[in-house]
Amino acid sequence: MHYLAEKIIHRYQRQKNGEGRVIKKKRIIIVFLYLGGFITLFMLAIFTFKVVLVHPKVPIYSEPNDTDIYRIVFISGDSGSPFWNKVKEGAQKVANKNKVAIEFKETFQADIFGYLKNIDMAISSRVDGIIVQGKEHPEFIQIVNKALQKGIPVITVFTDAPDSLRKTYVGPNHYQEGIILGEHIATQMGDGGKIGIVYGDTQIGYLSLRKQGVENALASNSNIQILDVSNHTAGSQNGLEETTELLNNYPECRVFLGLTEEATSGIVQAVKGRGRLQDYLIYTFDQNPEISELINTGVVSAALMQNPEEIGAQSTTHMLRWLEGIEVPLEPNYYTSVHLLEKR
């Protein structure tokens, strides 16, 4: 106790000696403590708010009535193509306006197994409707029929599978496409000449329809001679090979028609290897950025184009009308508009 008292007195005396300095120091410490205390308290409040009150929550769906929406699966076999993206856009727009959940499933063009599996999965999932690009493939027809058995309506788009039990087809009339383009070519080739038709793919239904249309349109002018690769071996063909063969057989042929976009790029490649592009007239069906570029540069004279958004929108609309019983039964075909795009 005594020691303590001495110490305190000592301190007191020291304080007295350097009074002003010590008091100033003390004030600084107290101000510092107050400042620090307030700042940390303020930040503490903010962080407490952040950590405790604004706690992230696992989002849980709480709209009970949304179970009665229609689930429609849209299956296409051409992953990432701009054409199908447009189709999807159209479909999505209609879906957004109505109570429709549309699900897009894609495989690559060649993957017929994955394509069929997607349809089968959709059937297992008991979706309300399936919109699919038609294939003229026996298993495709079988699986469409299976869907119908399970009570799931199927609508084919862009290409049809008329042998199946699909509800309807929404897309361009391919024969009509051929007629339009054929008539255009006929006016362009007034004096007659040779025209080479390139498939660029196996000879599937819609390509034949197109070719038929073109042939019928060109038949009016007897001076026009239609050429094609006669001995088609399915699957081994591509546009480049076909065109090369045609050019080998008929070097004087100056007009080419691609039935698909692949065929057209093959034609352009082959012609480039032979001579000047300006000497040739090239016509095509379908559209993609490459073809748009070719039209702009004048390589392709004219292209017959579909309206992909219309295809998507129409197919979804008809599916909805069927599901809601507004339009039963559907007509066998709903053709969408096409138009011809010429080079400037």
Binding site: I8, P56, M121
Partner: protein, 479 residues
Amino acid sequence: MKTIRNKIIFLFAVIWIMISLVWLLMIYSNQKTIENYNEILHRYLLIKEVSQLSQDSINALNHYFINAAADSKNEYLVLSGKLKESQEKLIGLRNQNNIISLMNYDNMIKSQLESMELAASFFQKRNDTKASFLFNEAAKTSTYISETTLLLINGELETYVNLYKKIIQQSKDSVLLSFLTLASTSFTILLIFFKFSNEITRPIVTLTAAAREISRGNFEQSITIRTNDEINFLASTFNQMRINLKKLIAEMQIKAKVERELQEHKLLLKESELKTLQSQINPHFLFNTLNTLAKKAYLENAKETSNLIISVADLLRYNLKSMDNSTTIKNEIKGLEDYLTIQKARFEERVQYTIDVDEECLSVKLPSLTLQPFVENALIHAIEPFPEGGDIAIRIRNQGIQNIIEIEDNGPGIPHDTIQSIIKGEPQKEYKGQSTGIGIHNVIRRLRLFYGIDDIIEIESIVNQGTRIILRLPEQKGD
């Protein structure tokens, strides 16, 4: 009253509350995060469980088809029952992003269950073709289910990417929060400690300093402490003690002074009494002798001698009788006249004296033998050494509240330092009175004690011109 105990309790309560709050905060935050994790994990587990059950049940059905045993059938039934149960739980997993895929998933399970049921019933009816077709359907559906499981989990991951990011941010914030709480608690506690310790120690320091001052004997410094606790009480008590002590010591000092003065007075009286006693043998003898001599001289017709002897006898009597008593100026003057009569006989014409007394002053009381020593002193220094002699004047007059006695001579004067020592009351050996044996310092001392004031004497002296001694005696109250 805010006692120190209360202050300590308050301090600890504040600390306790802060620490508990921090603790609760952390626990709460942790709990929330864990709940989130648990829920997410639960979702994954449920999806995984459904997928697993779908495969297990199809395997069990396959087993049953191969064995056709009751055990296998039971196993299949149990598994498909479980699958149904889990399927019902799936609805709880719905959120904005997975509602469609979850519905698909749900339907796939239903498809599988139906296919399996039908397959089992066809198997029992021995319709193997249909059974195996349906089994294949169920098996395909099961593979679709496991594929969709992956899709769902992938979807979950995508859906909760933001949540995970938030949770990660949250845990970072939590760490920061804990540091912040630590800092702010530290600041608060330090602040409280700082203020608190000051509040407690400052009064103690003040008190200690005050105690030290008192122990040194300084009672003047008052103690002021503006707190509201025990220390304040202590300080005020201490202050009271200081005031009491101061008063007591002052009283003691006055008492001691009075006692000392009394003692001194007694000592002076003793001195006079001793002197008296010393000369007590001769007085009776002397009186008788002097009376006889006076009578003898009268009978022999020497009247002047007879008167002189009577004066001597009277003076002697006065001197001896009135040492310790106060007397009146009248008596004092009578004694002085006797003395001067004798001295006149001795010095004849060399000494001239005048006594001038106001009538009203005659009854004024003063210590006896006050004037005689001064007059004697004047005779010794101003008359005796000079053949031509000198004048002595005694004047007594009343001046308001005091009576003034002046004794003036025209002698050689008194040196300045001697005057100082006289006024201070130091004894001067050579001035010892011849007639009374009483020195001037004795007279001055007695006067000071009698009147109780120091400023009683004034000496004016001019070299070779004379000395004037002025006594200022205050008017005595009462008798």
